[in-house]
Amino acid sequence: MTLLRIKNLSCRIGQVPILHDVGLSLEAGRIAGIIGESGCGKSMTAHAITRLLPPGSQANGTLLLDKTDILTASEAEMCALRGKTVSMIFQEPMTALNPVKTIGDQVAEAIMIHKDIPRSEAMAQTRATLDRVDIPADRFPLTRYPHEISGGQRQRVCIAMAIALRPKLLIADEPTTALDVTTQAGILNLLARLVREDGMGLLMISHDLAIMHGMADHIHIIQKGRVVENGPTRHLFRHMKHPCSRALLAAGTHRPDRKVKVCETPLLTVENVTRTYTLPRTGFRVKPGLFRAVDGVSFSIRKGESLGIVGESGCGKSTLARAILGLENTQAGEIRLGKEAVFTGKRPNRAVRRKMQVVFQDPYGSFNPRHKVARLVSEPFHLLDTHPADASDQVARALAAVGLTPEDADKYPHEFSGGQRQRIAIARALIIRPQLIILDEAVSALDISVRARILELLAHLSETHGLTYLFISHDLSVVRSITDRVLVMQLGKIVEEGPTEQIFDAPQHPYTRSLIAAAPQLPGNAT
């Protein structure tokens, strides 16, 4: 019988309509997916089911969960339902747990709030539930605090909390977006296993088509608060009709067209570079430990090449990028651009710095909010010995090159969307005509369709401006689409290196293999 039935659901916050006529149904033991870009209303749908909507919002329509009419139930009935019949897990495992309570107490609370059993019995059930989500007793006693375990483990604790009472419906709102790809694969496997074992329904919400393709039985694509297309997964991917969903799929499998002219001369040479950090003192009179963030890394980039560095968070790839830019001191090794060292003595070499620029991940934090675009874009002129006389012309040309207009120079950054801001960041990188641009997760925060256009722009600029790229990302599909050669980093070391296609089609190192196996695949992407 149908576990969850949503018909004509409309929601609004204050006077702003968020959802229009959303319909959805889910059987026990099945997985339904909701896909859409940020701000489309997919999370609102999930929150409407548990009626945990933000204050001032209103929902209309029919929302039946296991015979209960959610929209008319009393708050007391909802409290009895939440955690017992319907549970939720969220995107950010780092903040989803109370930092001052042990993981055992938090999972046990989910049990004791609904069942009148002694604490010892609840603790025993907690232990059993944590074992089910692979949080074993020997490494994770119940007395652990959230800050003592990793992000993936915290998400497992959240899942344990959600499934402790074997609910009929589990809602997972972007459950793996904040996690690394191998951790993500583990969490997705766990969710699939729990659905199978408990026969519960799972409603998955994600922006990632590839994840949904691997998980869901039935997919709903939401755009601007409306379900634009839905159907069984296999059928949907084969016969997409709505232009919006087709565009979404196309953007996900998009590969910009690149004409590569690689010279043999190396532009950037990194030799045996090591960066260590002193760890904070762990206690009274304890000698502080050392952490090798980058450990004896060597590679080179040829002129005109696009080199990718992939690795999971904490592998040292961003530290390496900063060392190349001369922002971090290195303890050993040398970094040279052309024939000149990035560091001469202890100070960064200005002549070298002029030849490289960077684009960062966060399109919101990349600009001083009090400066106009003209001032932001012209900031790298500081590296020149004299401020150029035609600075404003150069700004206009750089803006034009990234697809913005010269008039945009007079605006403030908050007047632009995320994608446009990333274009401004690229304009800032272009302005002093560098030879090398380091892209540190430059498209990771963007929606998939915006990301495709930025990648297209980057491919175009490398031709017109003769640029060399160092592309750093955790996202394998992005790296695959825009690089010629790839380095794989793990724990500060490069474990594998080779031409992009070769690495992806025939990975040699076990870590590379696990990374590629863990990455969800879209049908068009699978060879």
Binding site: F367, P369, E379
Partner: protein, 274 residues
């Protein structure tokens, strides 16, 4: 721009007492130091004296006007001392995060924090004798770690931003980054805290003058007027009422304005409103 219901009353009260202080330079109803035994303990609204007279027959309104000048001057200079010394210290500590300079600055800060402004005033008075200058120094020293900590905390979170990294990639040094990118982005926070410290300064000055560690006679001060009135509170309650109300309304005005500025300037609240 978001509006705040506190802005208008706050601004009106602050403007009123500032005006009172400024007018006192050119005009007061009576000379605030003239002793006139015949007219002592006059009740308010009695003839010549709008707010009455004190035990020496001095006009209370005139004393309040001149007292406003002193209270505001002491508080402004004290907050100024705190900002001028504290903000650069905080910026330097943030730019040097985890370094020896940062550690040293924060240690000294903690130490100064252990001396309440009244205790500083007691020490200074014990050694150099009482005076309004003591109050300025005592409140000023107390304000330094307040601004240093606030600046350091806010600057530290800004140093994590990518635009600081971008500025470093453009070859800018810590001093230039602090001046160009950090200071303008914490200016709002400093203004809001400045208003709060200003109102605390008014209360602290009144307290110090009340116990005799601040402004000395014959200069009038709200705190000293209250001290004088205490033994006569039974038969001349107006002597205690008006200076007290002057303090309350000045501080209230500043606090309301601080709250309003926080609502208007705080980027976090502004983002929520958008």
């Amino acid at each position: 721009m978001p509006r705040s219901k506190n802005l208008i009353p706050g601004a009106v009260l602050t403007a009123f007492f500032t005006a009172l202080a400024l007018i006192s330079f050119v005009y007061t109803p009576h000379d605030h130091t003239t002793v006139d035994i015949v007219n002592r303990f006059r009740k308010p609204l009695g003839g010549d004296f709008l707010l009455g007279t004190d035990h020496f027959g001095r006009d209370i309104l005139s004393m309040i006007m001149v007292g406003a000048r002193i209270s505001i001057a002491v508080a402004v200079v004290a907050v100024g001392v705190g900002m001028v010394a504290g903000v650069p210290i905080g910026l330097a500590a943030a730019a040097n995060k985890g370094g020896i300079l940062d550690e040293l600055i924060m240690r000294v800060n903690d130490l100064v924090f252990a001396f309440p402004s009244l205790v500083i005033a007691i020490l200074i008075t014990a050694v150099f004798g009482p005076g309004a200058f003591n109050a300025i120094i005592a409140i000023g020293i107390f304000n330094i770690p307040v601004f240093a900590r606030l600046t350091r905390g806010a600057a530290l979170s800004l140093w994590q931003r990518d635009y600081i990294l971008a500025a470093r990639v453009a070859g800018k040094g810590p001093v230039r980054i602090s001046a160009e990118h950090i200071l303008p982005n914490i200016a709002n926070l400093l203004i809001v805290q400045g208003t709060t410290q200003f109102s605390l300064g008014i209360i602290a000055e009144a307290g110090l003058s009340y116990v005799g560690l601040g402004t000395q006679p014959p200069a009038p001060s709200w705190g000293r007027m209250l001290a004088d009135s205490q033994t006569m509170i039974l038969f001349a309650p107006h002597m205690a009422l008006f200076p007290g109300l002057a303090i309350v309304f000045t501080v209230l005005g500043l606090n309301l304005m601080g709250d309003a500025l926080r609502d208007i300037l705080d980027p976090r609240i502004r983002r929520d409103a958008r």
